[in-house]
Symmetry: C2
Subunit: 373 residues, 2 copies
C-alpha cells in the first residue's frame, strides 16, 4: 500500500491527522526542517530528532550536483547517508533550477541548465527528477513542476501551469510505486482562482498520494497567499495530505493550517539560526543586539532546548559576537525546536477544537515581546 494519510480531527477547515509511511508515522500538521544538501544546516541528525521533528526535506537540485544521486544510492540512500531513518520528502529540483542555476533553458520536456557551482551542464526532465528521487530513496517524491514566477500575467501563468500539469502526468508515469512511498503533485496557477481550480482538478484526475500548493511565498505577500489558499484548498481531495511549499513564518503557519494545510517546509528557522535571529514565544529577536550582552535570562523560558535550559541570552550574544560556530548551532536547534513546539501546539489545539484561541494566544505573545524589545 502506498503512503497514506488518516484524518484524526478537524477544527473549521484545519485538520489533524497522521501520515503513514515506509519510514514511520508523522502527525500533521507538520513542519519539515530543510536538509538541503543532506544535512539540516548546523545540526546533527540527533539534534534534529531531539526537537521532535519526524519528517525532513532534501533538495534534489543540490544532491544531484553534490554528491550525485547515483553516489547517494551507492551509499545506501539518503536516509542512511545522513543518519535519518525517518521519512524524507525531496523536492523535484524545479524550483532551485529556476532560482539558482545558470543559463537555464526550459522546453516542453524539461529544463537544461548549468550548475551554479561549477558551470557543468545538466538536464532535468520529469522522468529524471523522479529517477533521482528514487535513487535518493525519498519517502515522498515531488512531481517536477515549473514554479511560476510572481508576478505573472494570466496568460503566462496559464501556459506555465499547463506545462506543470503535463510534467505531473509524466512524473506519475515515471514513479515506481512502493509500499509506504508516495508521489505528490503540485498545484500551480499563480494568484488566479480559475487556474488554481483547473490545476487542482487536473492533478486530482491524475491521482497523487498528496497535493502540494506551489508558486506561493514568492513575493505575493501573506494576504494574497491566504486568498489563493482559500480558492485552492477546497478543490483538493479531502482524504489526502496538503503541503504548502516553502512556507513560512510562524504566523504564516497558523493562517495556512486554519485554511486546511497539513505540511510545510521552510528555511526560515535554520537560516535565521545562522544569522542570530531567534524565533520565540515572545516574538523575533536579533541576538547580535547589544542589549543582550548582560542578559542572564534564557532566550525563551517556555522552551526545553539546550540553549534555553542551559545558557543565557548573554552567552548566545557572546557566541555570535565572536562568530563562534556554537552560536548558529544552538540557535538553529532552538528555532527548529520552536517550530516543532508550535506545530505540536497546533495539533493539540485542533484536536481540542480551539485552534482560534491557540492562535490568538500565540500572536499575543509575539506582540507583547515585540513591544518589550
Amino acid at each position: 500500500m502506498t503512503l497514506s494519510w488518516r484524518l484524526a480531527a478537524t477544527d473549521g477547515a484545519a485538520r489533524a491527522g497522521v501520515l503513514h509511511t515506509a519510514h514511520g508515522e508523522v502527525a500533521t500538521p507538520v513542519f519539515m526542517p530543510v536538509g538541503t544538501a543532506g544535512t539540516v544546516k548546523a545540526m546533527t541528525a540527533d539534534s534534529v530528532r531531539a526537537t521532535g521533528a519526524k519528517l525532513i526535506l532534501g533538495n534534489t537540485y543540490h544532491l544531484m550536483l553534490r554528491p550525485g544521486a547515483e553516489r547517494v544510492a551507492r551509499l545506501g540512500g539518503l536516509h542512511r547517508m545522513m543518519d535519518w531513518p525517518g521519512p524524507i520528502l525531496t523536492d523535484s529540483g524545479g524550483f532551485q533550477v529556476m532560482s539558482l542555476s545558470k543559463l537555464r533553458k526550459l522546453d516542453a520536456d524539461g529544463v537544461t541548465f548549468r550548475s551554479h557551482l561549477d558551470g557543468s551542464a545538466h538536464r532535468l526532465t520529469p522522468e529524471r527528477s523522479i529517477e533521482i528521487q528514487y535513487l535518493l530513496d525519498a519517502t515522498i517524491t515531488m512531481a517536477l513542476d515549473e514554479c511560476t514566477p510572481f508576478p505573472a500575467t494570466e496568460p503566462e501563468a496559464r501556459v506555465s501551469m499547463e506545462l506543470s500539469m503535463r510534467w505531473a502526468r509524466l512524473s506519475r508515469e515515471a514513479f515506481v510505486p512502493r509500499d509506504g512511498y508516495g508521489l505528490f503533485g503540485i498545484v500551480q496557477g499563480s494568484v488566479y482562482p480559475d487556474l488554481r481550480r483547473r490545476s487542482a482538478g487536473a492533478l486530482t484526475d491524475i491521482g497523487f498520494e498528496g497535493y502540494a500548493v506551489g508558486g506561493l511565498a514568492v513575493g505575493e505577500g501573506q494576504p494574497m497567499m491566504f486568498d489563493t489558499l482559500d480558492v485552492t484548498v477546497p478543490h483538493l481531495p479531502a482524504d489526502r495530505p496538503r503541503y504548502l511549499m516553502g512556507v513560512g513564518t510562524p504566523d504564516d503557519l497558523l493562517g495556512a493550517v486554519a485554511r486546511g494545510i497539513d505540511m510545510f517546509d521552510c528555511v526560515i528557522p535554520t537560516r535565521a539560526g545562522r544569522t542570530a535571529r531567534a524565533y520565540t514565544r515572545a516574538g523575533v529577536f536579533n541576538l547580535r543586539n547589544a542589549r543582550f550582552a548582560d542578559d542572564g535570562g534564557p532566550l525563551d523560558a517556555g522552551c526545553a532546548c539546550p540553549l534555553c535550559t542551559r545558557h543565557s541570552r548573554a552567552y548566545l550574544h557572546h557566541l555570535f559576537r565572536c562568530e563562534e560556530m556554537l552560536g548558529p548551532m544552538l540557535l538553529t536547534w532552538h528555532n527548529i525546536q520552536y517550530y516543532q513546539d508550535l506545530m505540536a501546539g497546533i495539533r493539540a489545539a485542533i484536536a481540542a477544537g480551539r485552534l482560534d484561541a491557540f492562535a490568538a494566544v500565540a500572536r499575543a505573545g509575539w506582540q507583547a515581546g515585540d513591544a518589550a524589545a
Copy 2:
C-alpha cells in the same frame, strides 16, 4: 584543602593519577580540549562531555576582551556560562598577548597591549591575570609568565625566565586560595638545561599546586622538546601534577607522558576538525581528498563517536566539499574523541605497566594507515 593530585601507578617515568578538584575528579594523564572563548569550537558542552573529557581549558586573553571577565562573573562564572560544571583550567593570557595582540609593551610589572579585535588598550599584570581568572572562576589558575620566543640566546632566555619567576611570585601572592582550586607555576628557560633547572627550583621554592612546562612547542621541534622535558621534569616535585602547555600531536603526547607529563592542552584536534584533517587509529587523513568521495566505510572503525558509528567517509567528504557546518561539527567531535580515547588507553597502559607496548601499537597503526593512504 587546595586542589590535589594523587599518584595511582607508575610505568618508568610515566605516571597515572587522579586530580581532585572543587569541580570533580580527573584521571591523568589528561588531554584538555581548548575552549578559547568560552566554547570548544564547533561542539556543544554535551558533545564534549560525551567524548569523556573531564577538564577543559579557557583563554584569559580572549575572555577578558570578550565578553569581559567582570561580565562572566556577573553571569555566574565560566562554568555556568558555558554549561561546564566540571573543572576548567584557564591560561594566564600571557601567551596570547605576545602572539595575538598589537603594540604590546613589556615591563617589569606586566604588559600593555592593544586588542587584536578593536585596537582598544589593555594592561595585564600578574595581579590582574589572577583576578581575571578568579572572576572567570577557574578551577586551575595559571601564573602569568612570558613565553620565551624560540630561538632565544641564553642571556635572552635567562632575563625572560627571571621575569617569569618574579611574576610567578606575584601571582602566588595574588591568588585567593579556595577549597579544590589551585594555582600552577610555569617553568621557562627555553632549551637551556641550567635555566630550566633554576626555573623549576624557583617555582618549587614558591610552591604551587601544579607545575607547567611552558615555552615549548614553539618551533624547537619534537627532539629538542623531549630533550628539554628530560632535563626539566626531574626537578619538579613528584607529588604535584605536571602540565606541558600547548602540546601536541598524538605522538607528542605518547613521548611526553613517557617523560612524566600528566596534563596537556592543544588546539590541534579542534582546529584540524574544522579543516577536514582527521586524527585516527590509522593516522591522519585529509577528508577533502577525492579518494574519499565513494568511501562508504567509517572514518575510524575503532571509534564510538557519532561520525564513526553512523556516517561514512564519503558523507564527511561531501559535507566538507559543500562547506556544510556539520563537517567541522562531526570531525571536531571525532578528533576530540580520538584524543580522549588515546589518553584513556595511555592511562590503562600505565596501570598495566605496558606503556611502551601500547605506544608501539599506536605508532604502528598510524604508520600502516599512512602507507595505505
